[in-house]
Symmetry: D2
Subunit: 161 residues, 4 copies
């Protein structure tokens, strides 16, 4: 099994600003790298970066870049890390533009850099999903795995279901 992890930004990859006097987060290297070091996985993988953005700033141009990367790659299994605010929009976009591939989108409510982050467990659910589903676009969040057409979000609690 070989997995391709695609970084797009989002909370999972947020770092503290390196500049002094900074207020906002900055995006760092893919948190996936650090999580997979802990897992010591028995599958092969590579990690690529398409963009480093808060998901409110992800555009259809970025989504087209994700689809292009997947469609032009020989691999069949992808995990996309993504901000939660527009995760469902990206899932629906990929549903239209990617065929015959397994794509699982996940993310985190707290940056991986936080010791109380959910990043590792969320990524675990995405990885397992690539083992078990046929082609299609899935979201794996908060312990549930749903297709891009079935996934919903409770905007009050932030939970996907």
């Amino acid at each position: 099994m070989k997995l391709v992890f695609i970084q797009t930004g989002g909370t999972i990859d947020k770092e503290y600003p390196h500049t002094t006097k900074g207020w906002a987060f900055e995006f760092g290297a893919p948190a996936v790298t650090r999580i997979l070091e802990k897992l010591n996985p028995s599958f092969e993988y590579e990690i690529v970066s398409v963009c480093k953005k808060d998901s409110l700033e992800i555009t259809d141009h970025d989504r087209a870049n994700i689809a292009k990367l997947i469609n032009e790659s020989p691999e069949s299994k992808y995990v996309v890390t993504h901000g939660t605010d527009t995760m469902i929009e990206t899932a629906k976009y990929l549903e239209q533009h990617v065929k015959n591939k397994i794509v699982v989108i996940t993310g985190a409510m707290l940056p991986e850099r936080f010791y109380n982050s959910d990043a590792a467990i969320q990524l675990g659910t995405a990885i397992a999903t690539t083992n078990l589903v046929k082609s299609g676009i899935y979201v794996a969040m908060h312990g549930v795995v749903k297709s891009s057409s079935d996934i919903k979000r409770n905007l009050k609690t932030g939970q996907f279901f």
Copy 2:
């Protein structure tokens, strides 16, 4: 969806000894509790404890207790946390003694208490598996999900595959 998490002991639940002058680890409360607090899952769950043992000390009597708990419970989906040394033996035992239930066994190479632990990501793979498989006994470790008859372990690296 409702999940039942079953504690049996194993590395994932090892704590530092409370006694002074202690050398060996002790088993604590289920690490699953702390991991699920981070995840804030959108599924219902309960956590039960069958035993707190290093998996080298798990006996068929313990395995019978796990099977009994699952067979007599009304729920259909179970995640068993277990030490790695005899995880495959327990999977094969449950294959013989549990029917028409989803059971996923997982564990960790480092205690959840370690900041570099793999526990959260391994548990994530087990949780996702319960979303996607039909009835049967599965092992979810090191990013791969296999049925009890297909799972193998590389004893040199410790990795399941």
Copy 3:
């Protein structure tokens, strides 16, 4: 020995925003509480909050509130957690306005919520200082302890010395 910990905000207490669609950090409850739980100290203490601000926004009005709290309290030993950008200014202000008390100012380069944070070790240096100095205003940062008149900062590296 009794210590009074005074929260003013700063990087050490920054939390991820609870609101969705948020970019900037928010200030949470004092990180000192969580650090002292780990230490299980053999001294008595209390934790009070004067303000929750980025140190660039600390005003002389806030500094007067800190001085007033210290001057009007019966205790003799204080640890003030503070943002790094104006830590030295606050130290010099307190030098002018607080007499016959031990006051040690510290903070962190990364929020205590980050697993790679320096918060715990920086706080440790401040606590030890209250054991050993006579009255005066001190800064304890990056492993060095200096009086308010001797402490300097390398603005390129961010290190106090």
Copy 4:
């Protein structure tokens, strides 16, 4: 300022066994290295290892090696990390055998590898002490700093005072 950190073993440096089927902890590389990476200290330092032992197994031969290393080194400031069970015995031994040096002994109740460890904050107290004391042997634990003749331990709670 230059500090020499001396590893002797103890809880602070305990790691999970690398061997499969292991019960007891093993001693790893000095935890001080990882803690100082977080601190990014503005002092110079080196880290040396005298032994890697549970403190119940530290002998006067080991203590003589620590004293020899300190007495024969040109540096004046030392932090010794040590198991807690015989920390006071080692402090009293060094009191007899080391003159005109600053030596501060510290350790931890939980291994530095645990996310709820006290190691970083304890080490912080030892580092600050080397800034502030005249020559002598000190123990810095649980937030208090005492000379080798004044330090005591509550064997019920484990706390030094």
